[in-house]
């Protein structure tokens, strides 16, 4: 592996500035690496020519001393972000030939700061899944112990695997119920889901609009902070995007946890969770204590209902958002004798099984006679869950939980639907409450697979989450290049 692939964001920016290498050289290294890691099936589209052109511009900027915040940083983009004139499919057959005429706000902000677009990364179809197994173009393989063919997690599985296999320096993903944090944990990298409203949703293919948030997947906390600074901010094109000031998140990293109160919710110690993951959580509690934080036991009794709320709210919103795929304006069309038959055939052929299940559940909970019993009920419990977090955050500054109940499983090994849904049991509550969360890698388990823990914080306190995450990172010393990672 080229030494350039070992560098993190700040090292790359410094290296190009000091003329140790150029943005074009670095980009070529990543494009070569993408060829070598092809077997992991992460990239749906590699935009090599465009990437080289962007890198040439980056080198010009360095020459003129006008380099921007991410000048020359090679980035992979989850296929949920619309990219102008680059095919964008949401890993679905129904969008297999869709070429957007516009660029999503978040990706546009990255390119405007000099980042290099390497291409589009696989995900679960319409971001619905926790294993990347619902992608139309096949499974992505977790770079760790890749010979064992394990899941990278989902839905941002391609994004997490690309960063973990050094086939992108950073990647962007979307998180609706854990789709950034869970794959980050499975792949041994850092995954940040910002506060709902922190990043614009404009140009992101909609799944569940009241939950969807974009965020960075990176090798470390500092890279994550640098990326989020660029991605975040108000956008008039997304009425739910926040006017909140976007601080320089890197300023938080050296503040430590001394005097902070970290809450440990007892409800996250559920049965079925791996002993080793619980041990890693205990280890992190020790890190916090050694660094002067106060550990506080807290309770979030409604946690056990979060998944049920999620599996009403998310499919309901999805069934409505996905109504637009009708074979008329873009995407696949399967002909039929009437307009309705054309719609039905197009959608029947174009959507995969998981997407169909969710559209059906969404249609069910929104249909007349069931709306109050399911959808309205779920929205009420959602409020109670949010209130519960608000109360706990009056007592503590941050919350520590495991990110996932297990480490990565073998592809094809989870046949039971509800077992699959349980992957998101620790990440969904924060999504419902709209609060920010991060997964930070801590350990490898006895099978050599990464374990992550999750830090949750108050709305718009991503800076503080990075600050706490940095203490975990510095103490755990997790090595993304260690034995078992993709060589």
């Amino acid at each position: 592996m080229s030494e350039l692939l070992r560098l993190n964001v700040s090292q790359v920016l410094e290296g190009i500035r000091k003329k140790e290498f150029s943005a074009v050289e670095l980009t070529r290294c990543y494009l070569d690496r993408i060829e070598k890691t092809k077997v992991l099936n992460m990239y749906l589209e590699v935009s090599a020519d465009r990437a080289i052109k962007m890198a040439q511009i980056a080198d010009e900027k360095y020459k003129n001393n006008t380099a921007r915040l991410l000048e020359g940083i090679p980035i992979g983009v989850k296929d949920m972000f619309c990219t102008e004139s680059i095919k964008t499919t949401a890993s679905s057959k129904i969008l297999e030939n869709f070429v957007p005429t516009y660029e999503s706000t978040v990706s546009k902000k990255l390119w405007e700061e000099g980042a290099i677009n390497l291409g589009k990364l696989s995900c679960d179809e319409f971001a619905m899944g926790s294993s990347n197994e619902t992608a139309a173009k096949g499974n992505v393989i977790n770079p760790w112990r890749s010979e064992e063919k394990r899941s990278p997690g989902g839905s941002s599985g391609g994004s997490a695997a690309a960063v973990a296999s050094k086939s992108a320096l950073c990647a962007i993903g979307t998180d609706t119920g854990g789709s950034i944090r869970q794959p980050a944990a499975f792949c041994g990298i850092v995954g940040m889901k910002p506060t709902y409203g922190r990043c614009s949703r404009w140009g992101i293919i909609a799944f569940a609009s009241s939950l969807d948030q974009a965020g960075p997947l990176t090798r470390n906390i500092s890279d994550s902070a640098t990326m989020l600074k660029v991605m975040a901010g108000h956008d008039p094109k997304d009425s739910t995007s926040s006017l909140e000031n976007v601080p320089n998140f890197n300023d938080f990293l050296d503040k430590g946890v001394k005097g902070l109160k970290i809450g440990i919710p007892k409800e996250y110690d559920r049965k079925g969770i791996s002993e080793e993951i619980l041990k890693s959580k205990e280890k992190v509690i020790d890190f916090f204590k050694q660094n002067g934080a106060e550990i506080v036991n807290v309770s979030l009794p409604l946690t056990k209902y979060a998944l049920s709320v999620y599996y009403i709210v998310a499919p309901a919103e999805a069934s409505s958002n996905l109504a637009r795929y009708d074979g008329v304006r873009y995407g696949l069309r399967v002909d039929g004798d009437s307009l309705d038959i054309m719609y039905e055939k197009t959608r029947g052929v174009g959507f995969g099984d998981e997407v169909k299940r969710r559209i059906m559940i969404g249609t069910y909970v929104l249909s007349s006679g069931y709306y109050d019993a399911y959808y309205l009920k779920a929205q009420k419990v959602r409020r109670l869950i949010k209130n519960e977090f608000d109360e706990v955050f009056k007592k503590v500054n941050y919350i520590l939980t495991p990110t996932t109940p297990t480490t990565s499983f073998k592809l094809g090994s989870t046949q039971d639907l509800l077992t699959m849904y349980l992957n998101d049991v620790f990440t969904v509550p924060a999504s419902l409450a709209g609060i920010p969360g991060i997964s930070v890698p801590v350990d490898l388990d006895k099978n050599g697979l990464p374990i992550g823990v999750q830090i949750l914080g108050k709305p718009f306190d991503e800076g503080g989450i990075f600050q706490v995450g940095k203490v975990i990172e510095d103490s755990a010393n997790f090595d993304l290049f260690s034995e078992g990672s993709y060589k």
Binding site: G348, F351, Y374, L376
Partner: protein, 99 residues
Amino acid sequence: MNNENKINSSSLAKLARLARLEINKDSEDNLIKDLNEIIGFIDQLNEVNTDNVHPLSSVTGHELPLRKDEVIDGDINEKILENAPEQISGYFVVPKVVE
């Protein structure tokens, strides 16, 4: 309530019609089983007392802002139509609709 199957062959057909989804005959039984399993699971919300709780539809807490209704981009009809499965003279084409 949990043990009672809420979805059967005829309610599945009705839902599929509402969702404009053609369901393969072969996959019907599996889909019915899956949907009943999910509905059985989400039914656990009945245990939670939600009397006098106001439903939460957005976590932002801010009022949706208003803006002027004005054209800020456009004139890309042709580019947009390139994505259409079928188009004639600047229009999207759909199967004939006869009432």
